[in-house]
């Protein structure tokens, strides 16, 4: 029995069933004549709710994994173990304080929870994000050099886009905005559209291979 359950065909069949369950109503739901689609659509909707539960539970797995990794780091006194203590304490305190038991003072209104969010998580995240400004300025200075035709095109286009996003330049030189808008509307849009359509075609090919059981990368590392 256990050998039957371990057969590779079972997850492939499940993948096919659940993929079609989502795909069929998506393309046929508005064809009111196709009454056959209604029960499939209902089933699809139920399965979507299942996924929410599965994802919610997977968050617990993430927390357990984090505790295991950093717990071992602290236990073995590995390099940077002090930081792991901060991770563990923050994770445990935030998780307990945010538990949805408002009657005992826990949850999103808990003062510890709101304090950690407003005075630790928010400023730390914003600070990390803000440091990008320094790196971008330095990187732009070093990389934007007119060393050849291609680099010059990138340099000119990049500078015009930078200028078209700054009111200082658009107020004094309105033509900068006009050129920047053209770069945005024409070459940028064409490139983005090509990337989007190319990616979509690739995904369709991947989906077909998965449905046919030829793509097995998501199963046991792709082996039989």
């Amino acid at each position: 029995m256990s050998n039957v359950l371990r057969r590779i065909e079972i997850p492939i069949a499940l993948t096919v069933i659940f993929t079609l369950l989502q795909t069929i109503p998506y393309y046929f739901r508005w064809e009111s004549d196709l009454k056959l689609v209604d029960p499939i659509e209902q089933a699809s909707s139920i399965v979507s709710q299942w996924v929410l539960l599965i994802v919610a539970w997977s968050i617990f797995i993430g927390v357990i994994s984090l505790l295991q990794v950093h717990g071992k780091t602290v236990q073995k006194r590995s390099k940077g173990w002090h930081y792991s203590i901060i991770v563990l304490v923050s994770c445990i305190v935030m998780a307990i304080a945010g538990l949805p038991f408002a009657e005992v003072g826990l949850g999103i209104k808990n003062p510890v929870y709101t304090f950690l969010f407003n005075y630790a998580q928010s400023p730390l995240s914003a600070t990390v994000f803000a440091t990008i400004a320094f790196f971008i300025t330095s990187a732009a200075y070093r990389s934007f050099r007119a060393k050849n035709i291609e680099a010059t095109i990138v340099l000119v286009a990049g500078l015009l886009m930078v200028m078209s996003n700054a009111p200082l330049f658009t107020a004094t030189l309105p033509v900068v905005k006009t050129i920047g808008q053209w770069i945005y509307d024409v070459p940028n849009m064409a490139t983005n559209r090509a990337v989007t359509i190319g990616g979509a075609l690739g995904l369709v090919a991947l989906a077909i291979r998965t449905l046919l059981g030829r793509e097995r990368g998501y199963l046991r590392g792709g082996g039989d």
Binding site: Q49, V55, N118, F144, R145, A146, L159, P167, L168, N188
Partner: protein, 277 residues
């Protein structure tokens, strides 16, 4: 090393100090530089103004705390603008930080009660649902089951007056989403706009703006508000100058620094290239 040679190899620490000064100075001493109104902010303002009375709006903070400096001003400005409209607002997010961003920061700035909006009747905060695109699809098909209880008071969603006539995406007129990545515009388009025809407008960080161009041009996206500069313009349009207006001088100055440094680097490069050859 001569002066022109130094120009193309300025120590990064000097650049960091300059960046720090160029950003901080205008924040402490606002320069009051002019802010020309461009088409993005005009389209955004029009999209909000054109929301008919009695419409249902899904308002979504699809960004993490790290994006607060850029996306928070546009979120506040738009939410305050929506408060002046006669519409029902459903707040929901599919980013785990999104619910906290709305609850801990935005609600401290804007109290819907001061606009005469009653919680549960005119607006509701449903919080966060895990599952990204799948959750967005589930939300479109069955709102109450996707968010069985609300975020602020943990009461059954179905018990609120506002949710009595709002069941699926077909009952929603427009999505107002602020986002910095995935899930975001692509997922809204796939799961809401295409199957249900729900209108969509998106506020995003400046770096995400190029990716919005195809959707804007195709008409799938009705308006896009990119970055702090457009937000400052929008704040001026709705006559509510706030965070973005205060920060837009810093944007101008930091961009000026980038332009100056790039020019200096190239002056140094061409000067020394001639000598080497």
């Amino acid at each position: 090393m001569s002066f022109v040679e130094k120009l193309q190899n300025i120590d990064r620490r000097w650049i960091y100090i300059l960046a720090w000064i160029f950003v901080l100075y205008p924040l402490i001493n606002p320069l009051g530089l002019p802010v020309p109104i461009q088409k993005e902010s005009t389209a955004w303002n029009k999209a909000i103004n054109d929301i008919p009375d009695g419409s249902v709006v899904v308002f979504s903070c699809m960004f993490s705390i790290a994006s607060i400096p850029e996306l928070y001003p546009m979120t506040i400005a738009t939410f305050s603008h929506l408060m002046t409209k006669n519409c029902k607002i459903i707040v929901a997010t599919f980013w785990n930080d999104g619910a906290l961003v709305f609850d801990q920061t935005l609600l401290k700035q804007i109290d819907p009660a001061t606009y005469g909006k009653v919680y549960g009747k005119d607006w509701i905060d449903l919080g966060y649902a895990p599952g990204a695109e799948t959750a967005m699809r589930a939300f479109a098909d069955d709102m109450v089951n996707t968010f069985p209880s609300d975020y602020l008071y943990s009461k059954p969603t179905s018990s609120y007056e506002i949710m009595q006539n709002i069941k699926t995406a077909a009952d929603v007129d427009i999505i107002v989403s602020f986002e910095s990545g995935t899930p975001g515009v692509g997922e809204w388009l796939r799961q809401w706009n295409t199957p249900y025809g729900t209108k969509l407008i998106v506020g995003c960080s400046g770096v995400s703006a190029p990716g919005m161009a195809p959707y804007l041009q195709s008409g799938q996206l009705n308006a896009n508000l990119p970055g702090l500069t457009s937000t400052a313009e929008y704040e001026l349009l709705i006559k509510r100058p706030a965070l973005a207006t205060a920060g837009v001088d810093a944007v101008s100055m930091s961009h000026l620094l980038v332009v100056l440094l790039v020019i200096l680097g190239n002056v140094g490069y061409f000067a020394t290239r001639g000598r080497k050859s």
